[in-house]
């Protein structure tokens, strides 16, 4: 059995553990809600998190590469970037996957003939992509903080000719 097949076979167990570990980064009352409510509109954080992790396990199994992993990481990190996590807590769930995979494979993966080295490299790649996305989200938040009122008010005032600015418009305008 190939590594991919074995991982695919264990996917649901791995996903379940990984989801549990990820929602456990929230307070206990919140974690219960994130796990139990299945309606994606009543519980968008829990369901988006689950979908992201699901896609990430698939990407790992198939060796789909960084772009596919990044696309799957974006929704979960977009959420975690605006919650009160430190950067390491926001992205740390990726690293927990290494341990979780080992727990679910015989002999930490070695006995099953899985290329753990390769998997670890992929998870490292995933972590780096996660960090990039997290930072991009934070930069977007700061950009919104810096430009929101300018876009709202200066735009209309300027069109109305009620303010006079120099030729060079400011950034983000």
């Amino acid at each position: 059995m190939s590594s991919a097949q074995l991982l695919a076979e264990k996917k649901q167990e791995i996903l379940k553990s990984w989801f549990q570990a990820t929602v456990d980064t929230y307070p206990a009352d919140t974690a219960r809600f994130l796990k139990s409510q299945k309606d994606p509109f009543a519980n968008p954080v829990g369901q988006t998190t689950y979908q992201s992790l699901d896609s990430l396990v698939d990407a790992l199994t198939t060796g789909a590469g960084r772009d596919v992993m990044a696309a799957a990481l974006d929704p979960i990190l977009r959420i975690r970037a605006v919650q009160t996590f430190t950067p390491s807590k926001a992205t740390g769930f990726v690293f927990s996957l290494k341990q979780i995979i080992r727990q679910h494979l015989p002999g930490d993966g070695r006995d099953a003939g899985v290329d753990m080295n390769g998997l670890d490299r992929q998870i490292d790649e995933m972590a780096m992509a996660a960090f990039d996305i997290y930072v991009a989200c934070r930069e977007k938040i700061f950009e919104l903080k810096a430009t929101e009122s300018r876009k709202q008010f200066f735009g209309s005032l300027k069109r109305a000719g009620l303010i006079d600015e120099t030729e060079a418009d400011g950034p983000g305008f």
Binding site: D24, T25, Y26, P27, A28, D29, T30, F33, L34, Q37, D39, P40, F41, A42, N43, P44, V45, T48, R78, I79, V82, Q83, T84, S88, K89, G92, F95, S96, L97, K98, Q99, D108, G109, R110, M116, N117, L119, D120, C137, K140, I141, L144, K145, A146, E148, S149, K151, Q152, F153, G155, S156, L157, R159, A160, G161, L162
Partner: protein, 540 residues
């Protein structure tokens, strides 16, 4: 080899991975940047004559409170329990069933249990039990009571300004507890100590002094509308002529000042102007603007009932001075809760006004019999229903629209079908968001009740996520590219929320779409919409 790598557990050993698991009373307050708004500017507090104007910083240990602050809170609490029967009932009857717990957009988005409405209310109830109930005095902590301490006060401030008073939780409460009113009372108590946020205090001071939240002086207000006149002429070839403070006009129109100055509300404002011009030309209906009653919104609502009353009074005063028959209100959110639920009690009865009747259709707006103020979506829906507006919805064919029920018009006055009826007549592509996220169960934009500041962007984005998530669904499935709403705060808040969560979706007011579709008598062939974007088939 894999086993030579550092184990994930070792990597994470320095990280406090799981929260402590302590009960809510024992979870210490952690005031985080991005989740709170700046403290009120003392000048604004002083302008309003509110107590304890002073500079203070939520991140500092010392909030510079008056020495007897506990006594002030106790007396304020006692006074309000006596004055407002609903407050007393809401303090007593909650059985902590948890029906509201997971309904709050801030809890769903932030994941912070203290944003569960039941817990947010419990912040006050615990003190209520301790100070005002026998059981609480005897049982203490066992009975869910705790004394008012500095930490508790700070917790109040932090979480009562993480509530947009949207009342979604109340829809699910089997007892009908209006948790927003608990927040309102809590904020009133905080204001007794000068603990407001500046995004509320300064607009309120502006409104009190100048007449609107933005502090726009009358000439600037008119300058802006004059500019819209030019813009409208460019798009339609029609020169509209909005009257100001016209005595004996039929109707006084009042809208949030955000519509006059903040994009994209400005396009909605142009929409009102086109509609009023149309009604003047076709039916000789006189609708006047006022630079005195130049604010529909009322951030006093987020400060104290006395402040709300003061700001609200100018609406009636101006209507009386001008001798109009009734008031037409623009697309605003909390303005409609103030009008529908509080205005009549505070500043009524407006017996000098008439029960609103649409003179063009003969429709009596019975729901506004007492307040004498009609929502423009209802007014326009009535005009369309009676075939009084000539419309070409094809002009909006580039817009694939969904509708966000703004919290206060939806839950505060039951305005659910009228905006949809208007939309269905002015656009050809309209898709609803999923059932649990619209109408009376609508999710808040995440920035209402004075929380639309910049410094709390993380809070706004987290709180706005449940709504944005539903928008994303209709964007992904139906190609929705425009989010319509009937609230100025929505129009101010959603552009940032969409940019973060669903960047392909833009934001509009209802009457911008109405005006795009409205065929004005004598208009030139329109090539663009009000934003200057080419109409369908008019692209280069």
């Amino acid at each position: 080899m894999a086993d030579e790598l550092i184990k994930p557990d070792e990597l994470l050993s320095q990280i406090d991975h799981r929260p402590s698991g302590a009960g809510w009373m024992d979870t210490p307050l952690d005031i985080r940047k991005g989740m709170y708004c700046y403290a009120s500017n003392p000048k604004s507090v002083a302008t309003l004559g509110l107590p304890y104007a002073r500079p203070w910083n939520p991140l500092e240990e010392d909030w510079k409170l008056p020495e007897n602050w506990q006594e002030i809170i106790y007396e304020g609490f006692r006074e309000r329990l006596e004055k407002f029967r609903s407050f007393k009932v809401f303090m007593d009857i909650c059985v902590r069933c948890g029906a509201c717990a997971d309904k709050c957009h801030f809890f769903i988005g932030t994941g912070d249990p203290k944003n569960m409405p039941v817990l947010r209310a419990e912040l006050l109830r615990s003190v209520y039990r301790n100070d005002f109930t026998t059981a609480g005095k005897i049982l203490g902590r066992l009975g869910g009571a705790r004394p008012m301490t500095l930490d508790v006060l700070k917790e109040w401030w932090y979480y009562l300004f993480q509530c947009t008073e949207c009342r979604r939780c109340s829809v699910f409460c089997p007892y009908g507890i209006d948790t927003a009113e608990i927040t309102i009372m809590g904020r009133e108590l905080l204001n007794l100590l000068g603990l407001n946020i500046d995004w509320i205090a300064t607009p309120v001071a502006n409104c009190y002094r100048t007449g609107n939240h933005l502090g726009i002086q009358p000439h600037a207000f008119k300058d802006m509308l004059d500019f819209f006149v030019d813009e409208i002429e460019e798009v339609t070839g029609i020169k509209v002529d909005p009257p100001y403070m016209q005595k004996d006009a039929d109707i006084l129109f009042i809208t949030p000042s955000g519509d006059v100055f903040a994009d994209p509300g400005t396009y909605t404002c142009m929409g009102y102007m086109l509609l009023f011009h149309y009604l003047k030309e076709k039916y000789d209906l006189n609708i006047t603007w006022s630079t005195y009653a130049s604010e529909g919104g009322n951030f006093g609502f987020f400060t104290s009932h006395e402040t709300m009353k003061r700001l609200n009074s100018k609406m009636y005063a101006e209507a009386k001075r001008l001798g109009v028959k009734w008031i037409l209100g623009g697309e605003c959110g909390h303005m409609w809760r103030v009008i529908t639920q509080y205005m009549d009690t505070m500043n009524g009865p407006a017996d000098f006004l008439e029960e609103p009747v649409n003179p063009i259709t003969g429709t009596t707006f019975e729901n506004a019999k007492s307040t004498k103020m009609v929502h423009i979506a209802e007014f326009t829906a009535d005009l369309i229903k009676h075939g009084k507006l000539e419309l070409d919805p094809g002009r909006n064919d580039n817009q694939i629209v969904t509708f966000h029920d703004s919290c206060n018009p939806a839950r505060g006055m039951g305005l659910l079908d009228e905006p949809r009826y208007v939309l269905e007549n002015v656009v050809n592509h309209f898709y609803e968001m999923p059932a649990g996220t619209i109408r009376e169960q609508t999710f808040c934009c995440g920035s209402g009740a004075g929380l639309n500041a910049g410094e709390n962007m993380e809070l706004r984005m987290a709180g706005g996520f449940p709504r944005a998530n539903a928008v994303k669904h209709v964007h992904d499935n139906f190609g929705v590219n425009m989010l319509a709403c009937v609230c100025a705060i929505d129009r101010a808040a959603f552009p940032a929320s969409m940019e973060y969560w669903v960047p392909e979706v833009d934001v509009t007011g209802l009457h911008e779409l109405v005006a795009n579709a409205l065929i004005m008598p004598g208009e030139k062939e329109r090539e663009t919409d009000l934003r200057g974007e080419p109409l369908p088939g008019m692209e280069e």
